[in-house]
Symmetry: C2
DNA sequence: CAGGAAACGTTGACTAACCGACACCACGAC
DNA sequence: GTCGTGGTGTCGGTTAGTCAACGTTTCCTG
């Protein structure tokens, strides 16, 4: 049997979404291991057999949720750059904001994935962001500035961004996407020698 | 073709509920007359043809929502009395609370019906409440108390209750079901001659 | 360890929902 | 006038989801 359709039929879209949503809720409530297929289909109000029309097993469903999220995030990150011939520093902020807003609107997905596999999520975020930035552009230094290596710059920036995102999630998204963006952009724009670290008295 | 079953199949339950919910949302957004079948099925994400598998037309759908609500309310009203041989005054409060809680949890339905046909809703509420109380019980006066006519008592009580509910809805359910119950019970228990109406100075 | 419950994974017959197409209206625009 | 444009109601063929049933595995508890 061919893998059949993708999202063409309303019914499949509805069902897959309902199963994913139910799964995420249940993971947050009782933890990944404790969730059964029966739980998922029960919560979503579908027949148990229907699950197997769409997914191989629990891991398969989780993997798809994971992949969906990462794909969407990568897309949100580069969408603001679409059509632009070159990207100046002032275009970074909208892009980061898009990214943070998307995370905020999918915070349950994010938290569920976080509880299941924190380090895998971090690693995949790093890899995805790096990859989609690398695909989309390269850099060129203004004359007089020190020449920077793009690969190193990317490592620096993506690590910092992902670090902030993980912290944001782990503190349960206390602040708004707007505030987080503001802070991150401020950090990017502040040379380290403008900051004074003082020893606690 | 037999009328088939009622709510047996998950699919029919899902679909009917989704269509009803979408319809209610749309009524509140743009008004009953402006809502098309295409709007409803679009919002609910179902094929237009599916609508006609379940409902004859827009009025049919509205009528069903209306009937559902009234049936549920009547049921909520008498459920607390179930199994009791006799009902004393102190059992009224839980019953009213049940009723108000149910309305609160279906406030969108209520508001939608309110905007479509205010007076029909009031009339049907009166009729339904009166009917389900009349079915369930009769009264007996304690010796020494003035002998009251049950039919008149019912008119008095149901009108008062429905009046309070309508006011509650029209002020967009500002207060909680608990508060409304408290107030209504206090009114029932306060003889009119304990209240002093003063002319505004 | 045995026995039983609970979840799994799969099957097959049935049916709701899908989609695209049809003809029919109502209405406003040109 | 008539030409869209947009909503209605209906149809037939196709496909997703339903339910009940099956044997299997897993895991707990007496």
């Amino acid at each position: 049997m061919a893998v059949t359709n993708e999202q063409s039929d309303r019914r499949t879209r509805r069902t897959r979404l309902a199963l994913k949503t139910a799964f995420i809720e249940l993971i947050l409530e009782k933890g990944y291991d404790a969730v059964t297929i029966l739980d998922v289909t029960g919560r979503a109000d579908y027949n148990r057999g229907t699950f197997y029309k769409h997914f191989i097993d629990k891991e398969d469903l989780l993997r798809e949720i994971h992949d969906d999220l990462l794909t969407d995030l990568a897309e949100a990150l580069v969408r603001p750059y679409e059509g632009l011939r070159q990207v100046n520093a002032d275009m970074i902020s909208p892009s980061i904001l898009q990214l943070f807003r998307h995370i905020e609107s999918h915070k349950h997905d994010f938290l569920a994935l976080l509880t299941v596999s924190r380090e895998k999520l971090r690693a995949d975020l790093l890899q995805t962001f790096r990859h989609s930035m690398q695909e989309d552009m390269h850099i060129e230094m203004k004359p007089g500035a020190p020449q920077l290596d793009y690969d190193i710059l990317l490592s620096y920036q993506t690590s910092a961004t992902v670090g902030v995102i993980m912290h944001w999630a782990e503190t349960r998204f206390r602040y708004s996407a707007e505030y987080m963006t503001e802070q991150l952009i401020a950090l990017v724009n502040t040379p380290i020698d403008h900051i004074v670290f003082k020893r606690r008295t």
